[in-house]
Amino acid sequence: MQSQAVALDAPIAAEAPVGTDVVIETRNLSKIYRDFWGRQKVRALKALDLVVRRGEIFGLLGPNGSGKTTTIKLLLGLLFPTSGQALVFGKEASDVTKNERIGYLPEESYLYKFLNAEETLDFYGRLFDMPADVRRQRTAELIHLVKLDWAKQRQLKEYSKGMTRRIGLAQALINDPELIVLDEPTTGLDPIGCREMKDLILELRDRGKTVLMCSHLLADVQDVCDRIAILHQGELKELGRVDSLLKIRDVTEIRASGLNDAAKEEIRSVIARHNGQLVSMDNPTSTLEELFLSIVQDSEARPGRRARVEG
């Protein structure tokens, strides 16, 4: 796996994105947190240059404190840049009119716990100046989409963390946004919820939406993102298409089924004849996520029976 590691010192790749319209652009974006007396406390972001184009799923990756959330907050106008510019749809991040086209799911679904699901969506709908009939329709659609029909009259304080994430996602979609900003979207979700969230993100992309997400769950990012940026200590370390970044160029993978031992031996000899080095030849393993999902599906299909899992 050595060769799979990304060369951090290499120049940042700028591969062709899916679309051409620029949705997000940061120019030399920096953020320094200061204390009460104006003294520098933390340099959270250092001269970030980034472009996210229409129709792509863009992931911000990095360990805690790397500047992912700061970048998102700067783009949403929740923080003011110390220097540089953050543009969304070509407008300054501090311009509230850009929010007409944005949906934002914060890290912990900061919602008003004394409202129920319907009231929550109705409230956020009003903030978009939506007429009552449109709000009603959107509310019903979104509650159905996030599968909370059964709990729509319950106050959010009674919701589990997963349910709160779902309603949080619904509020982010209330305005049918062009850009969806998701901060740790799968946090608090069970594996089924995670899968559904990821499917939904892909579906949104397929519908022409742009998604900017940040996560430290690498598998999630790998599953859905078209392009990623890796941040570390406030600096951009890598930027590019996920499939290209992850591609190990000097290793060849062949996946085949129905081969007997003789055939496998012959493949080994072919590799040796061509001076190749066999790294591994084994039966592949499934992911735990796939295993879990297949068990749940089986259980739903045959309730009361032990799940049949091929081992």
């Binding site: 104006g38 907050k73 949403l76 106008g77 929740l78 923080l79 003011f80 501090s94 509230v96 009119t97 929010n99 007409e100 944005i102 934002y104 914060p106 912990e108 900061y110 919602l111 008003y112 004394f114 409202l115 409230f123 956020y124 009003r126 903030l127 978009f128 100046d129 949080g168 509020q171 305005n175």
Partner: protein
Amino acid sequence: MIIENEFPPYFEWLLAAGLTPGALWIWLLTNFLLLVAGLLGSFIFLTVRHGPAKSGDLIFKALAGVTDDVVHTSPRRVYALARLAVQEALRRRVLVGFMLFILILLFAGWFLDPGRTDPAKLYLGFVINATSYLVLFLALVLSAFSLPADLQSKTIYTVVTKPVRPSEVVLGRTLGFAAVSTGLLLVMGLFSYVFVVRTLDHAHTLTADDLAPKAPTEKGLVPPNKTGTTARHRHVIKPDQIELLAQEGHAETEPEQGHYHEITAVSRDGETEYRLGPPLGQLRARVPVYGTLMFRDRGGKPAEKGINVGNEWTYHSYIEGGSPAAGIWKFTGVTRDGFPNGIVLELSIRVFRTFKGTIDQPVLGSITLRNPTKPNEPITLKNFRAAEYAIDRHEIPAQFKDANGREIDLFRDVVSDDGELEIEIRCLERSQFYGLARPSVYLLRREGTPWINFAKGYVAIWLQMLLVTAFGVMWSTFLNGPVAMLATLGSIVGGFFVSFLQNLALNKSLGGGPVESVLRISQQKNLTEQLETDVTSAVAVMLDKILRIPLFVVSRILPNFQELNDVNYVADGYNISGDLLAIHLTTGLGYFIPVMLLGFLFFKLREVAK
């Protein structure tokens, strides 16, 4: 009651009051000066950090942003945020405040003495003050803690990432909390009014024995006929009313504790029963007509003021008894159409005694009427005894006999053709003094509706509540909850002491400014004692001079909560005039607008996230 703070008609107050400019111009000038000072301060601060060009750019962007926000404020979003604030307030158990109010009302009877001279004043003052303090406290807590709580729980993130402008967040909060407090105020007002009316309601027993002629006492005095005792008082029934009762079956008791009762005689089975109706005249809303006042000194010459008897109550000017000194009020617009049944004159006169005299007997004075076009033909109406701390009522019918028994037609003989009338008050006892002010004597034009006046009193509380809410939300846009509450509390307390602050700022306060006061305390010197002529005193006086500048600014900026309070009008039974109400509402709006704009600005310039 005397109205200390006189007020001009609304438009005169707004646009020009005599030589001083109208309130509107003062408001515009103050706001302009504050804006200029704010911009200058910001420019200097930002120039130090970013240089002049960037500083100018930032200030321009901030101003343009606030203007844009204000212009594009969406009523629907403001409504949504206000609605949320209402829901939040209800969730924060705001109704506990109402429960507390009901509890106070339930137990109020234990502490309020119904035997007081004027129970209506006591009860009205109590309920209005209780409501006022509770609602202001609720407004304070709700407004100061809401935004900081949202910022702490980060729920604000999901709001400001929608197309919501800072102006909408601030206005929505303020209006939402104001709506909650308004609802509470309405219900509390209703309960208060019912409480006052029900508590004051009573009847007295009256039997034939009570009305029978009484035997003279040993001193030869005939005791008056009285009703039975209820609520620690009874009413005298005069012989002419007993006669009237026998002839017509209806009569009235004498007033007691600010009210009287109607008596009805009912015959049943050959016997006569006497029934007393509910108390009348307790809740009043007098609409007075004020005149202009001038004085005559002890030599009988015209004077602008009377005598200053010290700092007892400087509002009054005093005239000496047993001398030609007098207070002369000139009323205009006294016409037969305006006062078809004659005029009702009410006096509220202060007395300053230089010797005890007969302490339980009020000081004697006289009322003289004069037609201004016939200054040498005064008509002595009557002598009277000044009822201190109460209101003397004197009815002057259209036709009456003067003190000399002459038949007088009020509008022909006393009032001039253009409706002018002079009323002269003199004190007749030597070495005693009457304290007079312009509103001490007035004509009663009519009685307003008490419950409407009560509601007007609540409008004043509402206005105070609105300002407290606005200040609370404004401070909370950049301070955390407890600090915002303290800042709001400071604004309110400062607002209640604006006059004191103004005196401090203008060096009119006895004992000097704050630093000098501390020095006096440490040196155990009283207010009037001279300070030592040493360096410490000089430094203290100099520091006070410097402190006067911010004190002056603060005293000019803060709303005068004391002046906005109309409790005394309602409790003392004076109608709150439309002019006064309009002045108060405009004043409230005059503060509400800049406070909201400041709130917008502060919220716009702060980072929502950390």
